[in-house]
């Protein structure tokens, strides 16, 4: 098969799996997950083939794998869709395929395949556990299988389809289609346990918040299509198109068309990748099952946002000269750096193991956006790849921890939150495999020097920020990196180190191989993915391995990006912040006793409360948007507009028509029409009444009458007609 046909076929298996499961196999749990995992495996296989082949092509950036077909006619020409795999798409395919496959396998274990059905379980709620009796007659509480097991696999298969479509698209329209399919799936999956009110609220919040971004993005696409007449990469990223976009002015003063389009598209990314101020949905999205969290926050949806801006970099940076930033880039570097620091501070005070990761995701995405904002194209792509691996690892690891904790909770019957880190502790002995892989993921996230992937990608971003002279961004990101290392170590210490802070934690258990195998695989990549991009000028290690990531992905751009010169400042900074943050976190939290409150609470005081409540952004948005919207719908639209104005008009019209009707009835119908009919009927009746007495029934009277009439007639004729 040619590479192009394989690329065309990549999104196919997941969508086929989706329909198969939904239409035919949803009653059989085993068959459903076999189909879904099989589909993910096929796509993975195809992606690997494409990746390997793409890797061997020289100058893939200039000559990407591409193939187009006509889709629908637009005037005289056809709107064309097709596939497009350049180096950026190839590396994205690589990490998407791996994480998706791992998440699919992990889901089998996470949803307790092979466990008995729970007595109290029903669709729409998390499984409550089942009671089994062993051979000695002892009763045990064990985890029970998810009631909507098949549905889950159908949804994530559709999700995977959306992501593959997005990555292999050669135009922004099919990219947008994939983007929206993921939006739908994230809604369905966050609200997967739809019987929980909080899950429903989170699903709606996620859907509406990302929709805000999507509307702007669609505007951007429409404007782009109007200006250039095309949405395909080949046309819009061509030299002359970019030039046209830069020189043509937009309706908004001071913005070129390129700048306006860039800003609009970036707002779409802000929604999808949860950048401030549209970040609020992502922490709430933790209501979904943990594989979903990994899916949304690592492999697919949030990556899609960053992938879009990386893909769009030529337009975003169009017109930048001599290191000056364009308007969209300035916006991105500001929003990205701010979000990176902002989310990192919130993560300090979160106790839910998944929420910490959610905020760290927002923070890391801010890193990538900021990197792109200062023009560090390759560094952003590099961090996207490494982050996908270690964040998927961390989410799946946290799911494994929660699973182990739930096992303990079922065993002891305690009424505690299995996701609260202050109820954990000492899990490294109970769940060694989870511990070691989580440790690798956590160190990668903190940027532990030299061995982890996170270090190399983060270091590259910092080096770029410093090298290009964006000191504010550099300092902000460095500070965020310090906090990242700190809260990561806080999380690891609270979860795994010290002693158990609850009975349940004491009875936690290592999870099944279907859950630990993905952890091990992802941990492998969380370490090795970084080796692909070691800068040549790095002391001692530089040049041992070729920096092929830079060569490969950098070739996507028309103008090959130059690597920055080596400088000790960013390197030392990243060493200090990573190690310092990790040490601080370990020192403060590794021996926290049971029942103790957070040691940060006292010194930080009111700041801690603000962090704990996420700077009151939910309350602010509630006040600014939700309540006005509710007021508008309940009071303004319902009471005033609907009941008052529209119903009022309708009622008035009805009343007018009604009185008109009664006028017609009283003045026309009753007297004239009815009267006429009545007169005819009545007179006939009266006539009959009067003359019926003639009908006596006596034959002789009839005869008399006949005689009289005969005589009358005779007389008449004789008298009148015989006159001359």
């Amino acid at each position: 098969m040619t590479t192009e046909s394989i690329i065309w076929l990549l999104p196919l298996p997941p969508i086929v799996a989706f329909f198969l499961i939904v239409l035919f196999t949803n009653r059989s749990k085993a068959l459903s997950h076999t189909i879904a995992v099989g589909a993910a495996f096929l796509s993975w296989l195809g992606s690997m083939v494409v990746f390997v082949r793409a890797f061997q092509v020289e100058h893939l950036g200039a000559n990407p794998y591409t193939s187009v077909i006509n889709w629908f006619p637009t005037g005289d020409t056809f709107f064309q869709i097709g596939v497009w795999v350049d180096p950026l798409a190839a590396v994205t395919l690589f990490f998407v395929a791996w994480t998706v496959l791992m998440i699919f396998i992990y889901s089998v274990g996470y949803h307790n395949f092979g466990q008995p059905k729970g007595e109290a379980d029903h669709a729409g709620l998390q499984p409550h556990g089942a009671t089994v009796t062993d051979e000695h007659g002892h009763k045990h509480r064990v985890p029970s299988i998810e009631p909507m097991y098949s549905r889950f696999f159908a949804f994530i298969a559709l999700f995977a389809f959306g992501m593959y479509t997005l990555v292999v698209s050669d135009n922004l329209l099919t990219l947008f289609v994939g983007w929206e399919i993921m939006g739908l799936c994230s809604y369905l999956l966050i609200g997967f346990w739809y019987a929980k009110p909080s899950a429903r609220a989170a699903a709606i919040k996620a859907f509406l918040t990302t929709r805000v971004g999507d509307v702007f993005m669609l505007l951007g696409l429409a404007y782009l299509y109007k200006t250039t007449g095309s949405l395909s990469y080949e046309v819009i990223f061509a030299e002359e198109t970019l030039h046209t976009l830069v020189v043509s002015a937009s309706p908004i003063l001071g913005f070129s068309a390129a700048a306006l389009i860039g800003v609009l598209i970036f707002i779409g990314t802000m929604g999808k990748s949860a950048q401030w101020p549209l970040h609020v949905w992502l922490p709430d999205a933790m209501e979904g099952p943990t594989p979903v969290s990994a899916m949304i926050h690592a492999a697919t949806m949030v990556s899609a946002g960053v992938y879009l801006v990386i893909r769009f970099f030529p337009i975003l940076s169009a017109g930048a000269e001599h290191g000056a930033l364009t308007i969209p880039m300035m916006l991105m570097s500001f929003i990205g750096a701010f979000t990176a620091l902002f989310a990192a501070t919130i993560a300090l005070a979160q106790n839910d193991i998944k929420r910490v990761l959610a905020y760290s995701t927002i923070s890391q995405l801010g890193y990538m956006i900021a990197a792109l904002g200062i023009g560090a194209y390759v560094a952003a792509a590099f961090h996207l790849v490494t982050h996908a691996f270690f964040k998927a690892l961390l989410f799946l690891g946290s799911g494994s921890v929660i699973h182990g904790m739930e096992h303990g909770v079922l065993h002891t019957g305690e009424a505690i939150d299995p996701q609260d880190m202050f109820n954990m502790g000492g899990l490294r002995k109970k769940m060694p495999l989870t511990f070691w892989t989580f440790l690798i993921g956590g160190f990668a996230l903190s940027g532990f020097p030299l061995v982890t992937a996170g270090f190399w990608s983060k270091d590259e971003i910092l080096a770029d920020a410093f090298g290009h002279g964006h000191l504010v961004v550099f300092i902000t990101l460095a500070l965020a990196a310090l906090l990242t290392a700190f809260y990561t170590m806080r999380q690891i210490s609270l979860t795994f180190l010290g002693g158990a802070r609850s009975d349940s934690a004491g009875h936690a258990q290592e999870t099944k191989w279907t859950m630990t195998l993905p952890l091990v695989v992802l941990a492998f990549f969380a370490v090795t993915a970084g080796w692909a991009g070691i800068p040549e000028h790095f002391p001692a290690l530089g040049g041992l391995l070729p920096n092929w990531f830079h060569e490969f992905v950098g070739s996507t751009l028309a103008e090959f990006p130059k690597g920055v010169a080596f400088s000790w400042v960013p390197l030392l900074t990243s060493l200090v912040v990573a190690l310092g943050g990790l040490y601080l976190g370990w020192m403060i939290y590794h021996k926290l006793p049971a029942g103790a409150e957070d040691p940060l609470k006292k010194p930080l005081g009111p700041v801690y409360a603000a962090l704990k409540n996420k700077y009151y952004f939910d309350e602010l948005y509630d006040f600014l948007f939700v309540r006005p919207a509710l007021w508008a719908s309940e009071t303004f639209t319902y009471l005033w507009m609907d009941r008052g104005a529209i119903d009022g008009i309708l009622h008035t019209v009805a009343r007018v028509i009604f009185s008109l009707g009664s006028i017609f009835r009283n003045w026309i119908d009753k007297p004239i029409v009815n009267g006429f009919a009545d007169v005819v009927g009545e007179s006939v009746k009266r006539f009959g009444k009067t003359f019926r007495f003639v009908q006596t029934g006596r034959v002789q009277q009839y005869m008399v009458m006949a005689l009289v009439i005969a005589f009358g007639t005779l007389f008449y004729y004789l008298y009148f007609l015989s006159q001359p």
Binding site: R692, F693, Q695, T696, G697, R698, V699, Q700, M703, V704, L707
Partner: protein, 102 residues
């Protein structure tokens, strides 16, 4: 020679007697007899006109014969009806046979 007018006067008298019988008699059989008288008056009338006006044609006699036949048939049907009414109502008084009224 008896002139035509004698016959016509006789015929008219006979007709009036019959008519009176039809209108005034209570017994239905008597009413039927009145009708027979009226028919006979008509026959006398027809034959008289035939004899005095067109004796060369046969139409007058033929009409007379037809009226006899009709009268005979009528009597047969009328008597049958009266018998049937008598069986149901035990009367043949004309003024009591008055079911068909308002």
């Amino acid at each position: 020679m008896i002139s035509l007018s004698y016959y016509l006067v006789f015929s008219a008298a006979l007709f009036c007697i019959g008519l009176y019988g039809v209108l005034a008699r209570k017994n239905a059989v008597a009413v039927l007899m009145g009708i027979e008288l009226m028919l006979n008056a008509v026959i006398v009338n027809v034959l008289a006109f035939w004899r005095f006006r067109t004796p060369e044609l046969i139409a007058g006699q033929a009409f007379a014969v037809m009226v006899f036949a009709v009268a005979a048939a009528e009597v047969a049907v009328g008597l049958a009806l009266f018998i049937s009414i008598y069986r149901r109502r035990h009367t043949v008084a004309a003024d009591e046979i008055d079911l068909l009224k308002w």
